[in-house]
């Protein structure tokens, strides 16, 4: 019974982590059809920014921890915004319309450059940012102790899911985005300024990517290479859920989260394969992911 409860809570916490990371990636892919390898860099920059912010806020002051969390999140998202702007206006706009895979490789090149840029800016040492995690405290569920920070992350993920679905469906701008996701040419034919939509989407995606790094920073040690692992996880979740589908990313994150938690508790030997196994299994049954309608073939 305790194990089942553990699997549920761990699965939810890991799913929240995956969803927050993947939502920016799926949004950018859905709208712009760009599989952004540099998403890992947004994560890394968000985390480093958050670590710097936490260092500034908490060292020597006794200020409110919730305020620190907010400051950290805002700092991370600000860095994401700046980075996204530089990338989109500076590099990506020259490759719109080129072959999909070329664009992926451009983002891969950008990722390589940004990895070393991190070293230039922050050096090779690692940065702690644990204060918000510690301040959040924990709650006891019998033998099981849960960290409140994980609960915060689950709430955040839920808010993001609900918020983005609502925004896409009920705000004017959201509907514009949905139109562009469905068919870019027709949307342009209707007078939608697709270039602006692209830029704004990329910025939102960048900020979400940086946000994911910022909120994870207190749990990890912010060091070189944290972006690399995240890329594959994000890709897998987005592939499972369907590119461009936020509900898909949510369901994909939940499936992977619960499966992985079950594996760790029950069959630890397969933990390494779980995410790739689920991805392969889903793609075999539904080649475009869970939530994307089969595209009609264009003659």
């Amino acid at each position: 019974m305790l194990t089942a409860l553990s699997i549920l809570t761990d699965g939810l916490a890991y799913a929240a982590y995956l969803f927050i990371i993947a939502i920016g990636l799926t949004l950018i892919f859905g709208v712009m059809k760009i599989l952004n390898v540099a998403h890992g860099s947004f994560y890394a920059f968000g985390a480093y920014g958050a670590a710097t912010a936490v260092g500034i806020y908490f060292n020597g002051h006794d200020w409110n921890a919730a305020g620190g969390f907010l400051f950290m999140v805002i700092a991370g998202m600000a860095i994401g915004l700046v980075l996204g702007l530089v990338l989109e206006r500076g590099i990506l706009r020259w490759v719109y319309g080129k072959d999909e895979v070329i664009v992926v490789l451009v983002t891969y090149a950008v990722f390589l450059i940004l990895e070393d840029l991190v070293v230039l800016i922050w050096g090779a040492q690692s940065y702690p940012a644990y204060q918000p995690l510690v301040a959040a405290g924990s709650i006891d569920l019998g033998d099981l102790v849960l960290s409140n920070y994980d609960i915060v992350l689950v709430v955040l993920a839920a808010l993001l899911a609900v918020g983005s679905s609502w925004a896409l469906r009920f705000t004017r701008y959201g509907r514009l985005l949905t139109t562009v996701i469905f068919d870019r040419e027709i949307a342009a034919a209707f007078g939608i300024n697709v270039t602006v939509v692209y830029t704004v989407t990329f910025l939102i995606g960048a900020m979400l990517g940086a946000l994911s790094g910022a909120v994870m920073a207190p749990k990890i040690s912010v060091t070189l290479g944290i972006g690399v692992e995240v890329i594959v996880l994000a890709f897998a979740v987005v592939a499972i859920g369907g590119m461009g589908s936020i509900e898909g990313a949510l369901v994909g994150a939940l499936i992977v989260g619960i499966c992985r938690a079950a594996a760790v508790h029950l069959v630890p030997q397969i933990e390494l394969f779980v995410i790739y196994g689920v991805m392969a299994a889903v793609l075999i049954v539904r080649p475009y992911g869970l939530f994307v309608r089969a595209q009609p073939r264009k003659i």
């Binding site: 599989l35 590099i91 020259w94 490759v95 080129k98 999909e100 895979v101 070329i102 992926v104 490789l105 451009v106 891969y108 090149a109 950008v110 990722f111 390589l112 450059i113 940004l114 990895e115 070393d116 840029l117 070293v119 230039l120 090779a124 690399v228 594959v232 890709f235 897998a236 592939a239 590119m243 030997q269 390494l272 394969f273 790739y276 196994g277 991805m279 392969a280 793609l283 075999i284 080649p287 475009y288 073939r297 264009k298 003659i299």
Partner: protein, 315 residues
């Protein structure tokens, strides 16, 4: 009947072979590894022409390497020709089996599924402690039909073996491009449905290409294993596939020879970057890739094509 480009290509390979004893050892080793990798890139180019990008060629590269290493270790058989050939064959067989699954996918999903399969192999190898897990294990020194060279002679022997297999593969792939199945690559990329209406099975065509790429990947991996002397699961990791894609972009899908020149160039740039800026070599590579994509999107091979066209234009 040999045509002009085959003669030129043959001469280029011959020149590369003859030059070797006069070049420093470390250049020869670097070139051997570059040419072994170029075989994998050639496989990528075969797929790319049909509009398919594989982010999992490292699977076949790793398989080729491990086949060579394991057969040598388990049976003591060290003949390089046979081992590398076996690497290619195993690559082909696995590609044939996986092809049934993969040939149904296109674009990003093809890429993602191939990545997933390659990472599954990685996971299996990491979990296999008897094979050394992430440490891998070393490959026995190869022999060449009884001849057992050491040091410089071994270096040269491996280099010539690699060149030989590369030349044969280049000829083979060039010939394949001139067949109907090979020539169908561009139509398949542009509009599959029309190709099907012509009565050709597109998934069959793609399946064949997957197998060709698998064989080339296996050959490349086997040669690389002999050249490096060590195999580890990292050969199947997605960043390894990424570096092959990198070279493919540098080279462009335009021609067979581009794979070899591009691979040599990449190894050279990487080594140069590691030498001059040990902490920032990734940034140099990334910038080189970016510049190539932005300014020479068809790859460096196309630069020469443009030069030739300009020369041919009258007045």
């Amino acid at each position: 009947m040999a045509n002009r480009s085959q003669i030129i290509g043959g001469l280029a390979f011959a020149a590369a072979a003859v030059a070797a004893p006069f070049l420093p050892d470390w250049v020869v080793s670097l070139a051997t590894i570059a040419f072994a990798n170029a075989l994998v890139v050639l496989g990528l180019i075969v797929l790319w022409r049909a509009g398919l990008v594989s982010f999992g060629q490292a699977l076949y590269y790793c398989l080729g390497g491990y086949v060579v290493a394991l057969i040598a270790r388990w049976t003591g058989f060290t003949d390089a020709f046979v081992l590398v050939l076996l690497g290619g064959i195993v690559g082909g067989i696995v590609a044939f089996i996986l092809g049934f699954l993969i040939a149904r996918y296109r674009e990003i999903f093809f890429a993602m599924l191939s990545l997933a399969l390659s990472m599954i192999l990685y996971g299996v190898l990491v979990k296999t402690e008897s094979l050394g897990s992430t440490d891998g294990f070393s490959v026995l020194t190869p022999t060449f039909i009884g001849y057992a060279p050491h040091r410089d002679a071994l270096n040269l022997a491996l280099y010539w073996l690699t060149l030989g297999i590369c030349a044969l593969s280049a000829l083979g792939v060039g010939a394949y491009f001139r067949t109907i199945a090979g020539a169908l690559a561009a139509p398949v990329r542009d509009n599959e449905i029309r190709v099907e209406f012509l009565g050709v099975s597109v998934s069959h065509v793609i399946h064949v290409k997957v197998v060709v790429a698998g064989i080339l990947g296996g050959l490349g991996g086997g040669l690389a294993a002999l050249a490096i002397g060590h195999v580890d699961p990292n050969m199947a990791y997605w960043t390894t596939s990424g570096s092959f894609m990198f070279v493919a972009i540098l080279a462009g899908a335009g021609s067979v020879a581009a794979a070899f020149v591009g691979s040599l160039l990449f190894e050279g740039v990487r080594s140069f970057a590691a030498d001059t800026m040990p902490q920032f070599w990734q940034m140099i590579l990334g910038t080189a890739l970016l510049v190539t994509i932005l300014f020479v999107p068809e790859g460096l091979g196309s630069l020469l094509l443009r030069l030739r066209r300009r020369k041919a234009r009258p007045s």
